[in-house]
Each structure stands twice: as structure tokens, then as C-alpha cells.
């Protein structure tokens, strides 16, 4: 871990990666676990939020349980010189939750733009994929949608003690 992230921050990650304590004063409980004052726990967490080391603090719903039974990873082969412009446009769509440029794996995997789309049905996801296709237009050389059929594991980050 880097210079701005010290051993105490690491202990805080270890203490919270499984979740925040469900007690009235969770940061005070963490303070006892980690062995620092509660004010310092709060200051460090606020600082990690500020720096982006913590994206956010909150609930992670099970997508399937809250009605998003179709989850499609749409993948696109677009020209490298166009990908940043297209990636920004596709990433700005309200229904796209993740959008990345990733490497191709030729010959089996020609796709370099990945956009995750969630919906209540495969038909709904495919309708959204059609909206992406409209943006990419003639820059689309190949596309596929990989639907998830099972969550095999979903624990999030787990660093070792």
C-alpha cells in the first residue's frame, strides 16, 4: 500500500471490509477494535472518502433480489482511435453502471469496450444495448452481450490480516 495509506488505515480496512458494525455508534465500536479514538476513525474514513480510497459508504443490494434479474456485459469492438470518445458517450448513459476500455484477446476476443447494463429482463437489456449501438453506429465492428446466469461469489475486497 502506498505512502498516504498507513498501517492504521489498513487496520480500518480489515475491520470494515466485511461491513460496518450494526450498532448505534459504529465508529466507536471500530475505534475499540482498531485501538484509536473514535474521532480519529471518523477523520480517517472521511479522508479516505475524500481521496477516493473509499468510493462510498452504504448498502450493496443483491441485484437479483431487487428486480434486476438480467445483467448483461455488452462488449464492443471499436477502432482504438475512437474508443475514448465513444467510451465517454456510452458511460454517460443513465443505465450503464460500468464502462471500461479493456484489451482485446485476439483471435477469440476482439472486443475492447465493455459496458455493463442491468435490467428486469433480457429483452429490456437488449433494448438498452440497441441504444448503445445507436451511439456507436458504424464504429461498431463486432458486439456481444454476455448475460450472467449465476452469481458464483460476491464478497467484495478481502485483504489478509
Amino acid at each position: 500500500m502506498n505512502g498516504t495509506f498507513d498501517a492504521v488505515d489498513r487496520r480500518l480496512v480489515l475491520a470494515t471490509q466485511g461491513g460496518l458494525p450494526l450498532v448505534p455508534r459504529p465508529y466507536h465500536q471500530l475505534a475499540e477494535q482498531v485501538g484509536i479514538p473514535a474521532e480519529e476513525v471518523m477523520a480517517r474514513l472521511a479522508s479516505m472518502l475524500e481521496s477516493g480510497a473509499i468510493r462510498r459508504i452504504g448498502a450493496v443490494p443483491n441485484h437479483y433480489a431487487i428486480g434486476y434479474t438480467a445483467n448483461g456485459m455488452s462488449v464492443w469492438d471499436v477502432p482504438d482511435e475512437r474508443i475514448d470518445e465513444l467510451g465517454r458517450q456510452v458511460g454517460a448513459l443513465a443505465f450503464v453502471t460500468h464502462c471500461y476500455h479493456r484489451p482485446r484477446r485476439l483471435p477469440d476476443w476482439p472486443y475492447n469496450l465493455f459496458a455493463m447494463v442491468h435490467g428486469g429482463s433480457r429483452a429490456e437489456v437488449m433494448a438498452k444495448v440497441a441504444e448503445i449501438a445507436a451511439i456507436i453506429g458504424s464504429d461498431c465492428r463486432a458486439l456481444d452481450v454476455l448475460f450472467s446466469t449465476r452469481i458464483l461469489k460476491k464478497t467484495g475486497l478481502r485483504i489478509g490480516a
Binding site: L22, R55, A59, T97, H101, L146, L152, R158
Partner: protein, 159 residues
């Protein structure tokens, strides 16, 4: 067998209202509960129940491990059907595997197991990949991000 848990209006308000922005203060649950028109005790009880029922997979900070010097990489395997269970156990046993999904498609190059490796250092990714390859006998295909255009995993309840 656990009874299926229906999502009522208050659960929905909790899930929709709490996907981010949980306060950092002495009594954060009390503060959030007041905004949702419930008691601190009821909010805590509902969060625990939704976690137990797996309506929520987690409640707490979501770490961006790359900002802490670590690494986060999507990778895929082509797993033969007859070998599925064995390989699944090998992959899921690694603590470095944060998520794992089965995915299917027509032109997806045969990649059917997609997982995310999250480690404290970039070297940890390579080590995890080598362990999976050695144990499974299958090549792992990493898809590290070259550019991130957007990430915000917040979904409104529609069940």
C-alpha cells in the same frame, strides 16, 4: 428453508436511500433513520434482516483498492462443463476473488467464468492468476482496465 422476504416500502426506501452517503458522525444510523421516518432501532433491525436474507450483500464502506496501492482486475476462464464444479471451488476458494459470475453468450469466445481479483498490490494479481492456473490447469485471461469511463453501481429497487 428461509421464508422469502418481501421488500416493503421502508426496505425500499432504505435500499434506495442508502447506496451511498452514509454519514460519518457519532450516531449515523439515528441520523439516517430520522430522515426515513423510522427509529434507529428499526433501521438497524431492517439492515440486519436484509443482510441475513441476502437482499443486501454488504453494508459498509466500498473500497477502491487501487487508491490504496492495490489492484482490481477482471479475468475470465473457459471452463469445460464437465469440470465446472471443480474449477469453481478452486477459484472461489481464493480470498483475492472478490466477485465471480457465470456468463453465457454466442460470440463470447467461450469464456464462461468471469471474476474480479482484488489485491493489496499489483504483484498479488499475478500471483493469484498463477495459483488459479496451477490448480485448475486452465489458462486465465486477464482483462485489466486500460481506461475507466464510468463506474457507479447504484440501482433503484424495482422488485
Amino acid at each position: 428453508m428461509r421464508e422469502p422476504t418481501p421488500i416493503d416500502a421502508l426496505d425500499r426506501a432504505i435500499i434506495d436511500g442508502l447506496q451511498g452517503g452514509f454519514p460519518i458522525c457519532e450516531r449515523p444510523y439515528a441520523q439516517v433513520a430520522a430522515g426515513l421516518g423510522m427509529s434507529e432501532a428499526e433501521l438497524l433491525e431492517r439492515l440486519q434482516r436484509m443482510l441475513d436474507a441476502r437482499l443486501l450483500t454488504r453494508f459498509g464502506p466500498m473500497f477502491q483498492v487501487e487508491r490504496m496501492g492495490g489492484a482490481f482486475v477482471l479475468a475470465a476462464l473457459r471452463v469445460p462443463e464437465g469440470d465446472w464444479q471443480r474449477v469453481l471451488e478452486i477459484v472461489n476458494a481464493l480470498p483475492e476473488v472478490a466477485h465471480n459470475y457465470r456468463r453465457e453468450s454466442e460470440h463470447g469466445g467461450g469464456f464462461n467464468m468471469w471474476f474480479v481479483l482484488a489485491t493489496e498490490s499489483a504483484a498479488g494479481i499475478d500471483a493469484a492468476i498463477r495459483r488459479i492456473e496451477a490448480a485448475s490447469g486452465l489458462p486465465v485471461f486477464p482483462f485489466p482496465k486500460l481506461q475507466e469511463y464510468f463506474v457507479e453501481m447504484k440501482l433503484v429497487v424495482r422488485a
